[in-house]
């Protein structure tokens, strides 16, 4: 099936699913909202095919950063580059057509079935216009059928296979969250932006989502930028971590480096000395055991630690941010 690439060749450089995605450079991006500096000269680079986590306390600018990357928010200064292409100031639908897909922190699905939602993800890859669809020209019908096949594949991959024809409104919270992830994958993205993909999920659902992210990254070879409050998940999945606080880049490095970074501990826990802060220590160190384990074991570990882990509950409440935060 070559429909993965046909759409993209029309709008940008060809990118087969196996070709390494271009690096995503964020350079000195500054965003101001009427006197408030939401992002202050933030820079980082997402290496091709890596998982790059963006963490920080609430209000650190993570979602704003995503809004800049997906074109919903125009930076006052700085540049976003995908390979050699400048994304700064491009309209969101053009950025999507270049292969940058995102999910939202608060679930944003449309009416209709799971298949309808996922087919929306194929929008940039298909081309049937008003006339062709109204007259049901053979080309449009064929295109729709081919894309529907791929949508079913992606639904299977994300564990939604049984729900393809179920209206999204009837799904559980975790499944709806997964619909968003699947819809983003339907764009055949080269860079996938995940805004709190496991917020509000239970342990098993978290593990399943983490598996999906790991699988698609291996199979489709895409880069992932991840915003997440679940430190265990971040430390397990991420190759690199950037820490934001009050719109500034606080630290940057591998999960191991971040775990020991004094500034990070201070940002999360106020001014207390690191050794007096068992909670964050625990949160940062919990996944150590699971880091090298295979997915099945990971699931068990997460399940086992879930009910007794005190940080889980604190983080659950911490994720509840104002619903309007994602609006551009």
């Amino acid at each position: 099936m070559n429909i993965r690439t046909t759409g993209r060749t029309a709008t940008g450089p060809a990118a087969g699913p196996q070709a390494a995605p271009p690096a995503l450079h964020v350079r000195d991006v500054t965003v101001r909202f009427a006197g408030l500096t939401a992002l202050d000269a933030v820079s980082f680079t997402v290496a091709p095919g890596s998982v790059h986590a963006l963490i920080g306390p609430n209000g650190a600018g993570k979602s704003t950063c995503f809004n800049v990357l997906s074109g919903l928010c125009r930076p006052a200064a700085g540049q976003v580059l995908l390979g050699d292409t400048d994304l700064t100031g491009l309209a969101p639908h053009r950025i999507a057509a270049l292969g940058v897909a995102r999910t939202f922190q608060n679930i944003v699905t449309t009416e209709g079935t799971v298949a309808d939602n996922l087919m929306l993800g194929r929008h940039a890859l298909s081309r049937a216009g008003f006339a062709a669809s109204a007259l049901r020209l053979p080309g449009a019908v064929r295109e729709q059928r081919a894309h529907l096949d791929r949508v079913r594949e992606i639904a299977e991959l994300t564990g939604l296979g049984a729900h393809v024809d179920t209206p999204v409104a009837l799904l559980s919270y975790g499944d709806r969250k997964r619909v968003e992830l699947a819809r983003a994958l339907c764009l055949e993205p080269r860079v996938l932006l995940l805004d709190e993909p496991v917020a509000g999920m239970n342990g098993a659902e978290r593990a399943a989502t983490a598996d999906v992210v790991r699988t698609v990254r291996e199979q489709l070879g895409l880069s992932v930028v991840l915003v997440e409050h679940d430190m265990g998940l971040v430390m397990r999945l991420a190759d690199e971590v950037t820490v934001l606080d009050f719109g500034r880049r606080l630290a940057h490095g591998t999960p191991d480096e971040i775990r020991r970074h004094p500034e990070v501990l201070r940002a999360y826990l106020g001014t207390g000395a690191p050794d007096e802060t068992p909670e964050i220590q625990e949160a940062l160190e919990t996944p150590e055991a699971a880091e090298t384990a295979d997915p099945a074991e990971t699931t068990k570990t997460t399940k086992a630690t879930e009910p007794t882990d005190p940080t889980e509950t604190t983080e659950e409440t911490a994720v509840t941010e104002p619903p309007g935060e994602n609006a551009p």
Binding site: P92, H93, T109, A115, M119, L120, H123, S133, S172, A204
Partner: protein, 379 residues
Amino acid sequence: MSELVPKWGKLLLPALLLCALPFYLDAFWLRIGLFSIAAAIGAVGLGLLSGTAGQLSLGHAFFLAVGAYGYTWLAGDPGPALPPALAAVLAVLLAGAAGGLFSPVAGRVRGIYLGIATLALVFLGHHLLLTADSVTGGFNGRSVPPLTLGGFGFTADDPELTVLGVPFGAEERLWYLGLALFALTWFTARGLLRGRPGRALSAVRDSETAAAVMGVNVARYRSAAFVVSSMYAGLAGVLLALSFRRVVPDYFGLALSVDYLAMIVIGGLGSVAGATAGAFFVTALPLLMTRYADQLPLVAAPGTGGEGALGPTEAARYLYGAVIVVILLYAPDGLHGLSRRVRARLRPARSPDRPPSAPWPASAETSPATPARAKEHTP
């Protein structure tokens, strides 16, 4: 598309029934049917704009007027006196162009503000119709040149035509024209709604942000919705003009726009079948009440003006006002949603989970398995 065959089979019976009607009904009933068909075409267009794309429009009467007057002027004298069939096509395109001209405004304002902006169109249109005498005929309107297609006239006697012992007058001929145009509307609108544009439009309605990051050019789709909706309105306008045989400015007022909104609300937003049902209800009801005014309680026959009695038109308005309230309270998804729920209840319990209007026939293979399989990750 072998899966489509049963679906088409279901449509075949009503289609045959509609085609047989002129042999059994007189001109009065056919005229009611014709007005309803025209209204249905317009309502499908408004449903596309307000129901699917979520853009409130009070200006539908304006685009109907563009279609009706466009045809009358293009085919008539004074006017270029084009062949009527060509004039009809051009009138539809003209209405689409009018929608396109308005779309920069539509791209800037949302929701109730868009409603107000479109309201201005109705007043502007009405003023133009009254003042541009040479084109529109002013207050008294113009008579509509009859449609001819390749020597066949949609009039009473051009040529004389008798089918199976039934003389075919203007109403009978226009009835079949109306049916054909409605079939075209039905086919194209459903194709649009179930295809890529329909998905993009409903995404724009549900969340412009989500639509944009999924690659939908929001501004373009918003204006395209206006153009397509206006083209359907233009088509409805042409058919209305042909059935009225005279166009007058007062018909294309605000009340007409509100009628169309009532149609799509009663029928159920975002559905072609619902818009059709709503159009029949809103159009046929006042006409029927006028006809049977003398037999209805509390309703005075037109012209008699009995003490404390309602005129049939007012009574019809009260009635469908009440219906709107009832529908908003008890069936916010309109007649379409109501019939869907009734059908879901009547359906054998074999596949209870399946949404009754699965958008793509291919879904039939997978869905029976759905209820059997438990959700894996429910807490």
